[in-house]
Amino acid sequence: MKILVPVKRVIDYNVKPRVKSDGSGVDLANVKMSMNPFDEISVEEAIRLKEAGKAEEIIAVSVGPQKAQETLRTALAMGADRAILVMTDDEVEPLAVAKILAKIVAEEAPQLVITGKQAIDDDSNQTGQMLAALLGWGQGTFANEVEIDGDSISVKREIDGGLQTVKLGLPAVVTTDLRLNEPRYASLPNIMKAKKKPMDEKTPADYDVDIAPRLTTITVAEPPVRQAGEKVEDVDALVAKLKAVGAI
């Protein structure tokens, strides 16, 4: 079977985001960008399923600017077989991303789509669930462990009180959580090989999807800054201080 893995280019998780002074957004000029960490986990899981003989082909797809190519090359270097870049410089909300992905699913007929549970820039946590709804498929969100068994998939999910296991008929959508696996690094030979792997370039118009945003960002502001308090000398001083502020 085929696995489709949507990957998003986002600010690197080590970078502290800075809000632009005109309040129009976060400053991404000259900032290090990387694959969304959850999407690395998705790519890794797809590769492991392929290595286990459960899947034949992995297709990575990204919706974003020309530079999202780099993100797709990373996915190819990790082990995806080919890539689709849906190029746009416009902002694409999760609903529109899900609609584009649904069209790609119709063309490629994967049995499994693995998305990240959230992208670390907009933190929406929506795209996978929306895609599952549009396709009328089951959804295994926040996956901690997955197991394919014939024409169904068991997904152990990270939920608020602990873990929950659900069984979904295939095809299905899975969204990844942090503990699913530890993504591999791409080796140098694989990075070289990835340059030769096929990458299709498309646009949202090719899929006839209206990507006009439904949400307008009016302003983006800094959150209130917390001031550092004071350091105390020892545990006795800590206890005294805690009592003084009524904490204990």
């Binding site: 985001p17 933190d123 669930q129 602990g162 296991t165 307008t216 550092a228």
Partner: protein
């Protein structure tokens, strides 16, 4: 405006997470609460007592027993014909179901709102809370998840809502519930605890975590949290993780022990009223947000603290 609030529950008890959502919804209009589950009548009665709730809709059906999104979302989408906004808590249940409802309604969800500015305008955190976006929705129906720490909790007494039953639930045949491992604990839940004691990678092992963190938490009647590093290393279960991609908490007192203060961790706790940090590195970023800091080896300082509080 008529709102529909997803009640968080386990078929027996309504969860606190519901109460902040009721407050957010009441800023938009009339509050209708929705209980989906199986054998959940008592939850409907609890929801009817919440101050500010006008009506409770109870959908009680075996197909809804585990609130699987595949079965819940179509039912909610059909109820949205007579409601203007759907609001769910930003819990794993809410985050699982709401986007599925949004897509069925062809609506762009507004995730994790911090405030209601007007009927169509909300604030929400992006980039791990390093920026706050004010967004305006052009969709006719709104689908929203609500950050629990950003709204006051509605009172659990004082309301006298009418209760009606909703039929039409069906098993979509896409998913089945297999099992659940829910830790039973006397400890307060992280998202409602007044005090949280949280441990990081520095603890070194699950034995040490238990030996150093647990007694202090017991003494203070506190909930226990952890950094991602401590969870990944297996010192504590997943659902202890505080942060951007774990739980968002805002207790009266948050005690961070052997936690460096990465932005992803800060995103989950920096709205705590008082932050206490114990770390042996005086330059650890956690001290930049801590009200009270102690530079010390935690293996000495924490047992001593436990003895003295």
């Amino acid at each position: 405006m008529k709102t529909l609030v997803l009640v968080e529950h386990d078929n027996m008890n309504m969860k606190d997470a519901t109460l902040a959502v009721v407050t957010a919804a009441s800023q938009l209009g009339e509050v209708h609460a929705l209980v989906i589950g199986s054998g959940c009548a008592s939850v409907g009665e609890q929801a009817a007592k919440v101050a500010g709730v006008a009506t409770v809709h109870v959908a009680d059906d075996v197909a809804l027993a585990n609130q699987l999104a595949e079965n819940a979302a179509p039912l909610i989408a059909s109820l949205m014909e007579s409601h203007d906004a759907f609001l769910a808590p930003a819990t794993t249940t809410g985050k699982n179901i709401a986007p599925r409802v949004a897509a069925l309604l062809d609506v762009m969800q507004i995730s994790d709102i911090l405030s209601v500015e007007s009927e169509d305008t909300f604030t929400r955190p992006i980039y791990a809370g390093n920026a706050i976006a004010t967004v305006k929705s052009s969709d006719a129906k709104k689908v929203i998840t609500v950050r629990g720490t950003a709204f006051d909790k509605a009172a659990t007494e004082g309301g006298s809502a009418s209760i009606d039953t909703v039929g039409g639930a069906a098993d979509a045949g896409l998913s089945t519930f297999v099992s659940e491992e829910i830790a039973k604990s006397e400890r307060p839940e992280l998202t409602s605890a007044k005090i949280i004691v949280s441990g990081g990678r520095a603890l070194g092992s699950s034995e040490k975590f238990e030996e150093v963190i647990t007694p202090l938490a017991d003494k203070l009647g506190a909930g226990i949290g952890a950094s991602r590093a401590a969870v990944d290393a297996g010192y504590v279960p997943n659902d202890y993780q505080v942060g951007q991609t774990g739980k968002i908490v805002a207790p009266e007192v948050y005690i961070a022990i052997g936690i460096s203060g990465a932005i992803q961790h800060l995103a989950g706790m920096k709205d705590s009223k008082i932050i206490v940090a114990i770390n042996k590195d005086e330059d650890a970023p956690i001290f930049q947000v801590a009200d009270i800091g102690l530079v010390a080896d935690l293996f000495d300082a924490v047992p001593e603290l436990t003895g003295k509080v």
